[in-house]
């Protein structure tokens, strides 16, 4: 009994320390964004105010809302397309019999492990030739490519959990392969879609290097680059505004995650078959 309590105590202590360690920067960010001073070491100077938020929203030359809009559109489009392509590929991989299937999956995974920096130079030249620099497409294409392996792996693992007898039953009931995919496989792997979609979305939303290289201004620039290049008129670093902007750009991401994580429930396939 005492041992059990001790373990519980250790668990709570560890959880609290890890959590506070992780949330510390966020907390710092939150405090600074609502204060007039950015010096957190002298707490007496901190006064609560909305001035940072008002400033960044009022000043059109800062393009904060543009960056957020760009980020949301680019992330949404690229994650949607990535999951769509991945699910078609995963359907084929999980349902067709062909040799070296597993090696193919490993190869795809390996291809996603190159450091981004290795291709960024080439990518710049490539996009330049296509006259896509500083457009949404310049980022959407690489993001789709970069998130595809992960989406594919997630979808393959979900699809292979769906019993093949359901495919057979649907085939007998008159479906063609595409109808099986739409009417049986897709509804049953909703959690897979949402987790793959969320992860791709977050990748695209957080990505920095490609966005830095392939965009020039507020027409296509995303939040991470926007925050990094945030400078005052005279070259000083307005920490308060930066923090307020970061908090603002976090809101849609947190909202999306909260909304969709409800759908990531396990065991959707339970009950249709008797094991």
């Amino acid at each position: 009994m005492r041992e059990e309590k001790f373990v519980k105590f250790l668990f709570v202590i560890t959880a609290v320390s890890i959590l506070s360690f992780c949330l510390m920067p966020f907390f710092y960010m939150l405090v600074i964004s609502f204060s007039t001073s950015w010096d957190i070491t002298s707490l007496d100077k901190i006064r609560f105010s909305f001035s940072n938020y008002i400033e960044i929203l009022k000043d059109p030359s800062l393009h904060c809302l543009d960056y957020i809009k760009n980020s949301l559109i680019i992330s949404a489009v690229s994650s949607f397309i990535s999951v769509f392509i991945a699910s078609l590929g995963a359907y084929a991989i999980s349902r067709l019999d062909f040799p070296f299937k597993f090696f193919l999956l490993l190869f795809i995974l390996a291809s996603s492990m190159f450091p981004q920096i290795t291709i960024v130079g080439y990518l710049f030249k490539f996009m330049n030739k296509l006259h896509l620099i500083n457009t949404y497409l310049a980022l959407i294409f690489p993001y789709i490519a970069w998130t595809l392996p992960l989406s594919l792996w997630i979808m393959v693992s979900y699809f292979s959990k769906i019993p093949k007898e359901l495919d057979k039953a649907a085939l007998i009931d008159g479906c063609n392969w595409f109808q099986i995919f739409i009417k049986i496989i897709l509804p049953l792997s909703k959690p897979g879609f949402i987790s793959a979609g969320l992860l791709s979305f977050l990748f695209a939303f957080n990505e920095f290097l490609f966005a830095l290289m392939l965009t020039i201004d507020y027409h296509a620039r995303t939040v991470p680059v926007g925050v990094a290049l945030f400078q005052g008129l005279h070259g000083e670093l307005p920490w308060g505004s930066i923090m307020a902007f970061s908090i603002l750009s976090l809101i849609p991401v947190i909202l999306i995650t909260l909304i969709f994580q409800r759908y990531i429930i396990q065991g959707l396939t339970r009950g249709g078959l008797k094991e």
């Binding site: 019993p163 007898e165 649907a170 085939l171 008159g174 959707l268 009950g271 249709g272 094991e275």
Partner: protein, 356 residues
């Protein structure tokens, strides 16, 4: 619909080995017949069913539905399941977990793009027939095994298939439920007169359901016949062993030749071997078989009599299964009366003997 299989084979090829799951099968199933394919697991019976359903393509041979050729490797014809008008009930039921019972049953009709009103009518009609009307809005996960099975049958029957295929549909039910479901399936089939192919490894199920039974082993059909026929005239050892609730008594005996006549030696008992059974003799031995109900205790008259020691008595309810021993051979005897003697005389007649 009449179904005809001609020289049908299916070979599965994987990098390591080739498996001939279905080996050169010829078969004709009559219109409205309840046909059972019986065999041990791995004998190819499910593959044969999948071939008929169109879930597998044959490696060689042809399948006819009525006069129509639906699959032929040689003629490069393959009609997919949806155009064969077959329905299938799976061992695992394979209900769609994300749809409720109504939508599960309506699924094939929705694929056929039937109008809403007719779908509702058809689903309710079939639900009424299978007594699952009050379950229509339940999810498959909320149903018991027996209910799932009814839903699966309803889904199969709702679009009036010309061929109904059942792949071990009862093996996931408990024993009591299975007997009822068996009778219901037979009743439904007779009522709707659908050509039905039923695959099972359970010989009791096969005997009680089938108009005709095909016994399969290692991808080949060993024998086709009515249940009575298979029981009374098994063509070979495999069929004899497989059919019958109480396994047939089988004894390997030496051969004795006397005055140009052949006898099988059961201890010092000489059993006549009919001339047409001589082909079964292998290396001076023959296997004789006799069903336990044909062994009579203290018979008034019998062609052969043996004095045997009683080993074990198993009460079966109405009958007793008596294990007896005679000269190192053991037999099972079915008797209506319980016996108390240690030694009994057991008799049997020539006509009840099988030679393999």
């Amino acid at each position: 619909m009449k179904i005809k299989l001609i020289n049908l084979s299916k070979t599965f090829i994987s990098p390591r080995r080739r498996v001939k799951a279905v080996n050169n099968i010829n078969l004709e199933i009559g219109k409205g017949e309840f046909f059972v394919i019986l065999g041990p697991s791995g004998c190819g019976k499910s593959t044969l069913l999948n071939l008929i359903a169109g879930l597998e393509k044959p490696s060689s041979g042809e399948i006819y539905f009525g006069e129509k050729l639906v699959a032929s490797k040689e003629k490069k014809i393959f009609i997919p399941p949806k155009d064969r008008n077959v329905a299938m009930v799976f061992q695992s039921y394979a209900l769609y977990p994300h749809l409720n019972v109504f939508e599960n049953i309506a699924f094939p009709l929705r694929i056929q793009k039937l109008d809403k009103h007719s779908i509702k009518k058809e689903v309710e009609k079939i639900a009424e027939m299978l007594e699952i009307k009050d379950l229509l809005f339940a999810r498959p996960s909320e149903l018991s095994g027996g209910q799932k099975q009814r839903v699966a049958i309803a889904r199969a029957l709702v679009r009036k298939p010309s061929v109904l295929l059942l792949d071990e549909p009862l093996s996931n039910l408990d024993a009591q439920l299975r007997i009822n479901a068996r009778a219901e399936i037979k009743f439904l089939q007779k009522e709707l007169k659908i050509t039905t192919i039923y695959v099972t490894h359970d010989q009791i199920e096969a005997m009680s359901l089938g108009d005709r039974i095909a016994v399969m082993n290692k991808g080949k059909i060993e024998q086709i016949g009515s249940p009575e026929d298979l029981y009374k005239n098994p063509k070979n050892l495999f069929v004899a062993k497989f059919i019958g609730t109480i396994p047939i008594n089988l004894i390997e005996t030496e051969i004795l030749e006397e005055d140009k006549k052949l006898y099988s030696l059961l201890g010092d008992l000489k059993i006549k071997i009919p001339d047409d059974k001589k082909e079964f003799i292998k290396e001076g031995k023959i296997i004789i078989g006799i069903r336990s109900e044909h062994l009579k205790i203290n018979p008034k008259s019998a062609d052969y009599n043996i004095l045997a020691r009683v080993k074990v008595i198993e009460p079966l309810g109405r009958e007793y299964l008596i294990h007896i021993e005679y000269k190192n051979y053991t037999f099972k005897v079915l008797s209506l009366e319980k016996i108390s003697e240690k030694e009994i005389i057991v008799g049997f007649n020539q006509q009840d003997l099988y030679f393999f």
